[in-house]
Symmetry: C2
Subunit: 225 residues, 2 copies
C-alpha cells in the first residue's frame, strides 16, 4: 500500500470511529431519555437497534487488521491502529451499557415514579461528554484534552455515590420502594461503566499522543509544572 493511500485509509478509520462514537452516544442519550420521559417504546428501540453498533464494530476491526497486514506501519501509526482496535471495543461496550440501561428502564416503568431524577441525568450527561471528548482527543491526538477526561471520572464516581446514598434512605424508610430504588442504582452503575470506558479511551489517546503508558501511573497523569 502506498503511503498516500495508507493515510487515506487511516483517515477513513478515524471517521468510522467517530461515526461509531456518535451512534453509541445517541443510544445512551435515548436510553436515559426513555427513563426520564417514561417511554417504554423508546427503551425497546435502544434494545432492538444494537445490531447496527455491532456491525460497525466488526467493520472497524477489519479495517484495522487490513491496515496492519498490508504494510509494516511506522511506530506512531502502529500505536494508533492498535489503540483504534481497543477504542472500538470500548465504544461497543458503551453501546451494551445503553442496552442494559434500557432493560432496567423497562423493569422500572410499570411502577409509579419514585422521585424526580436529578443526579442520574447529570451523571449521564457527564459520561456522554467524557466519551465525546475522549474521541475528539483521539482524532486531534490531544493529550491535554484526554487528561481532562480522566479528571472528570471522579465527578461521575461522586455522583454515583450520591445516588446510592439517597436511594438507600428511600429503601430504608419504605420497603415498598426497594425494587424501584434498586433499578435506579443499577442504572447509575451502567452509567458509571460508560464513564469507565471513556476513561479507557482517554488513556489510549495519551498513550498514542505521548508514547508513554499512563495506565496505572498516577504520577504521570499530570505533567509537573
Amino acid at each position: 500500500m502506498e503511503r498516500h493511500h495508507f493515510e487515506e485509509e487511516l483517515q477513513a478509520l478515524k471517521n468510522r470511529l467517530l461515526t461509531m462514537g456518535a451512534l453509541v452516544e445517541e443510544r445512551v442519550h435515548q436510553a436515559v431519555r426513555s427513563l426520564i420521559d417514561r417511554r417504554q417504546e423508546e427503551a425497546e428501540e435502544v434494545i432492538a437497534s444494537d445490531k447496527e453498533v455491532n456491525d460497525l464494530q466488526i467493520d472497524i476491526d477489519d479495517r484495522c487488521l487490513k491496515l496492519l497486514a498490508t504494510q509494516t506501519p511506522l511506530a506512531g501509526d502502529l500505536r494508533l491502529i492498535t489503540a483504534a482496535m481497543k477504542i472500538n471495543a470500548d465504544l461497543e461496550r458503551i453501546g451494551d451499557q445503553a442496552v442494559n440501561i434500557a432493560e432496567n428502564v423497562i423493569k422500572l416503568l410499570p411502577q409509579p415514579p419514585l422521585k424526580p431524577l436529578i443526579d442520574i441525568p447529570r451523571m449521564a450527561e457527564a459520561a456522554q461528554a467524557m466519551t465525546r471528548d475522549a474521541l475528539d482527543a483521539f482524532v486531534k491526538k490531544d493529550a491535554a484534552m484526554a487528561r481532562g477526561v480522566l479528571k472528570r471520572d471522579d465527578e461521575v464516581d461522586a455522583l454515583k455515590d450520591a445516588v446510592f446514598r439517597e436511594l438507600l434512605t428511600y429503601m430504608m424508610a419504605d420497603p415498598g420502594t426497594i425494587q424501584r430504588a434498586l433499578a435506579l442504582i443499577l442504572i447509575s452503575r451502567n452509567i458509571e461503566r460508560i464513564a469507565d470506558h471513556a476513561t479507557n479511551i482517554a488513556e489510549d489517546v495519551i498513550f498514542i499522543a505521548e508514547a508513554k503508558d499512563v495506565r496505572h501511573h498516577a504520577e504521570l497523569q499530570e505533567p509537573k509544572p
Copy 2:
C-alpha cells in the same frame, strides 16, 4: 526478526498471558475467600497488590507492539497478536473486578453475616473456570473449548438473577438487611463482569482459531451438524 526467533517471542507472549491469567484468577479467588472467611486483611491484600497485575499488563502490551513493529506478521499471527492485546485488557479488568469485590467485602464485614453464602461462591467458581478455560483455549487455539465458555455465561447470569431475587426478599422483609444485601448484590455484579470478560476472551479465541467473527452472530456460535 527471523522466523525462528519470532516463534520464540510468540511463545513467550503466550506464557506471559498465562501468568497474567493465573495472577488475576488468584486475586479473584482471594477476594471471594475474604468474603466467605470474613477476613478483612485478605481483602486489603487484594487491593494493595493491584500493581503487579498492572505492571504485567504494560509488559504484555509492549511485547505485542514490538512483535507487530519488527516484522509484518502473517495473517494468522497478526490476528493472534492483536487478540493477545485485547485478552490482556480483559485480564487486567478482571483484576479490577477482584479489587471491586474486595472493596465491597470491606464495607460488608463490620456487620454480622446476613445469610450463608451459596450462590455467590458458586458464581465465582463458574466465572473463574470460564476465565481459565478461555485462556487454555487461547493457548491451544481450541474453538470448541472457547464455545463451551460462551455457553456457561448463561449459567452465571441465571445465578446472578437468583442472587438478586433472594436478596430482594431479605430487603423487603427487613430494612435492617438492606445495606448488607446491596453489598452482596454489587459483589454478584462484579462476578458477572468477570464472566463477561471471560466471554470476550473466548470470542477472541474463536476469531483467531477460525478467522471468522463470531461476535454478535448467534447463528455462527454453534457449527451446524
